[in-house]
C-alpha cells in the first residue's frame, strides 16, 4: 500500500540528468518532464558544437564523451576548459540570446542533451516550481563563477 507513495525508480538516462548540478534538486516526476523537453544530439570527434560569436539558443549537457571549449586569442586559440559526462555548458543561453563567447568542439564522439531556451521559458510559465529550481541552480552556478573571477581563479565554461 505504501508503494503508492514511493518515488518511481529512475531510468539510467534520468539518473545521468540527476547527476548534473543543474537538475539535482528535481524530483523524479520533474526530471521526467524535463527529459521530455530535451533533445538528443550526437557529435563526432572534432565536430564543432557551436561557434564563438554565434547566437546562443540552448544549454548543452554532456551525457557521454568529452568536449573542449576554446577562445580566439590573437591569431591562435586558447583552451578554456575540457568537460566530461555530467557537465553542462552554454548555460548563459538559457537567460538571453547574447552571442556565445567561446567555441565548443567535440573531443571524442559524444552524446549531448540539449535544453532549448524557449522550452525553459515555457516551463517558467507553466511549471514555476521546476523553473525556479533550475533558475536557482543556474544562479548558483553563475555566482560561483563570479566568485572565482573575483578571487582570480581561471574562468571555466563561461558561455
Amino acid at each position: 500500500m505504501f508503494g503508492l507513495f514511493k518515488s518511481p525508480a529512475l531510468s539510467p538516462r534520468l539518473l545521468r540528468l540527476k547527476e548534473s548540478a543543474l537538475f539535482d534538486s528535481l524530483t523524479p516526476l520533474e526530471l521526467k518532464i524535463i527529459d521530455r523537453l530535451m533533445h538528443e544530439r550526437r557529435y563526432l570527434a572534432d565536430e564543432i558544437i557551436f561557434d564563438e560569436g554565434e547566437e546562443g539558443q540552448a544549454l548543452y549537457l554532456v551525457m557521454s564523451g568529452r568536449v573542449i571549449i576554446s577562445r580566439q586569442f590573437g591569431s591562435g586559440r586558447e583552451i578554456v576548459a575540457e568537460l566530461s559526462a555530467g557537465s553542462f555548458f552554454g548555460d548563459l543561453a538559457l537567460l538571453d540570446n547574447a552571442p556565445r563567447n567561446a567555441q565548443t568542439r567535440a573531443l571524442d564522439n559524444c552524446e549531448l542533451a540539449v535544453f532549448f531556451r524557449a522550452d525553459f521559458m515555457g516551463l517558467m510559465e507553466t511549471d514555476p516550481v521546476i523553473g525556479y529550481k533550475i533558475s536557482l541552480a543556474l544562479a548558483r552556478h553563475v555566482g560561483r563563477r563570479l566568485r572565482d573571477w573575483m578571487t582570480g581563479k581561471p574562468q571555466l565554461e563561461a558561455l
Binding site: L37, N109, V114, A118
Partner: protein
C-alpha cells in the same frame, strides 16, 4: 516573446518566395479541401485542449492517460451541448424548414419595404423603378435558384460530415504525439543547423498557437458584444445569432456579409411592422464589425502574426482568387507560418559558416566510416 535569432526581415527575393509558396500551398489545399478543413479544425481543437492535457501530465499522469482523459471529458461536454440543443425545444411549433422560410420571407419583406421607402424619398429611383427591378430579381433568385440549388448545397454539406469526423482523431494524435513529432523532425536536422531549426520549429508553433488562440478569443469577444447589442435592440435569440455571426466572421468579407444578412432576416421577422428594429440591428452589426476591425482584431489576431497590413489585405484578395472561400479563411495563418519558415530558411541557406560546418561534419563522418577501409 520572439526567439528568432537576429530579427532581420527577409529581402524582396525571400518575400517573393514566401508569397509564391503561400499561393501554391493555397492552391494545393483547395484541391484537398476535404483533408484541409478537418486538419484545421484538429489544430484549433489541439490548441484548446493542450493546456489541460499538459496540466494533467504535470500532475503525474502519462501522456496517453492525460490525452484520453481530456479527450473523454471534451467528448462528454460536446455530447451534452448537442443534447441540450436538440431537446431545448422538444416539440417546436414549426419545423426548421418552415422557420427558415419564415425568416427568409421576413428578410425579403424588409428589403421590399426599404426599396419602397427609398423610392418615396428619392423620386429618381422611382423613375428607374428600383423596387420593381429588385423585387423581380429576388423572386427569380428565391423561386429558381434556391429551389434548384438548395438540395445540392445540403447534399454537399452532408458529404463534408465524414471528413469532419477526422478532426477529433487528428486532435488526439496531435495531443499524444505532438512533442514526439517535434523531436522527430529536429532529429532529421544536421548538427550545424540544429539550434536555428529549433528556433524555427518553436516560432512556427508559436505563430500557429497565437493565431488560433487569438481567433478563439476574437470569436468569444465578438459573440458577447454582438449578443449584448442585439439584446438591447430587442432581437430574439441574441446569443445564438451572435455566435453564428462570430463564427461566420472567420471567413473575411463574405462571412461578415452573410452574418449581417442573417441578423437582418431575424430582426425583420421579429418586428415586421417596425423596420427600425432591423435598421438598429444593422447599426449594431456594423458597430461590432468596426470594433472588431479596429480594437479586437489588433488586440488578438493582429499582434499574433506581425505581418504588414498592406500585405495582409493583398494576400486576402489573392487567397480569395486562388482558392475561393477556403483561401480567404486559410491565407493568413498559412502566410504567417510560411513567412517564419521562409525567413529562417533564407538566413540558414545564406550563412556560409553554417554550410561550411555542415560540410566539415559530412567529411568527418565519411572519414570515420572509412578509416579501416583500403
Amino acid at each position: 516573446m520572439n526567439l528568432l535569432p537576429t530579427q532581420q526581415r527577409g529581402g524582396p527575393v525571400v518575400w517573393s518566395g514566401i508569397i509564391a509558396a503561400t499561393c501554391v500551398l493555397l492552391f494545393l489545399l483547395q484541391q484537398m479541401l476535404f483533408l484541409a478543413v478537418p486538419f484545421l479544425l484538429g489544430i484549433v481543437l489541439y490548441y484548446i485542449l493542450q493546456p489541460p492535457t499538459q496540466r494533467l501530465v504535470r500532475m503525474g499522469f502519462s501522456q496517453n492517460a492525460a490525452t484520453f482523459m481530456v479527450g473523454a471529458v471534451f467528448l462528454v461536454l460536446v455530447t451534452l451541448a448537442v443534447l441540450a440543443v436538440v431537446y431545448w425545444k422538444s416539440s417546436p411549433a414549426t419545423s426548421w424548414q418552415e422557420q427558415l422560410g419564415i425568416y427568409l420571407a421576413g428578410g425579403l419583406e424588409f428589403v421590399r419595404h426599404t426599396m419602397v421607402a427609398l423610392e418615396q424619398q428619392f423620386p429618381l429611383l422611382k423613375q428607374v423603378s428600383l423596387a420593381d427591378t429588385v423585387n423581380q430579381r429576388m423572386s427569380e433568385f428565391t423561386g429558381d435558384f434556391i429551389q434548384s440549388h438548395l438540395t445540392d448545397i445540403l447534399v454537399s454539406v452532408l458529404e463534408w460530415l465524414p471528413s469532419l469526423l477526422l478532426a477529433p482523431f487528428l486532435t488526439f494524435f496531435f495531443l499524444r504525439d505532438g512533442l514526439r513529432f517535434k523531436k522527430f523532425l529536429a532529429r532529421a536536422v544536421p548538427n550545424a543547423f540544429f539550434e536555428r531549426t529549433l528556433c524555427l520549429l518553436h516560432e512556427v508553433d508559436q505563430t500557429a498557437h497565437r493565431y488560433f488562440q487569438g481567433l478563439i478569443r476574437l470569436t468569444i469577444l465578438d459573440t458577447a458584444v454582438l449578443a449584448f447589442g442585439l439584446w438591447v435592440v430587442g432581437v430574439s435569440s441574441p446569443l445564438v445569432l451572435g455566435l453564428i455571426a462570430a463564427l461566420l466572421a472567420w471567413v473575411p468579407y463574405v462571412g461578415s456579409i452573410v452574418g449581417c444578412m442573417l441578423v437582418v432576416m431575424v430582426a425583420s421577422t421579429d418586428a415586421p411592422a417596425n423596420p427600425s428594429v432591423a435598421y438598429l440591428a444593422i447599426g449594431v452589426f456594423i458597430l461590432v464589425r468596426l470594433l472588431d476591425d479596429f480594437v479586437f482584431m489588433p488586440l488578438t489576431l493582429g499582434r499574433s502574426l506581425h505581418i504588414h497590413p498592406l500585405i495582409t489585405v493583398l494576400m486576402i484578395f489573392i487567397g480569395g482568387s486562388v482558392a475561393g472561400v477556403a483561401g480567404l479563411m486559410l491565407v493568413l495563418p498559412l502566410l504567417g507560418v510560411v513567412m517564419v519558415i521562409g525567413e529562417t530558411l533564407g538566413r540558414l541557406i545564406t550563412d556560409p559558416r553554417l554550410r561550411a560546418r555542415h560540410r566539415n561534419a559530412i567529411a568527418l563522418r565519411t572519414r570515420q566510416a572509412s578509416h579501416d577501409l583500403t
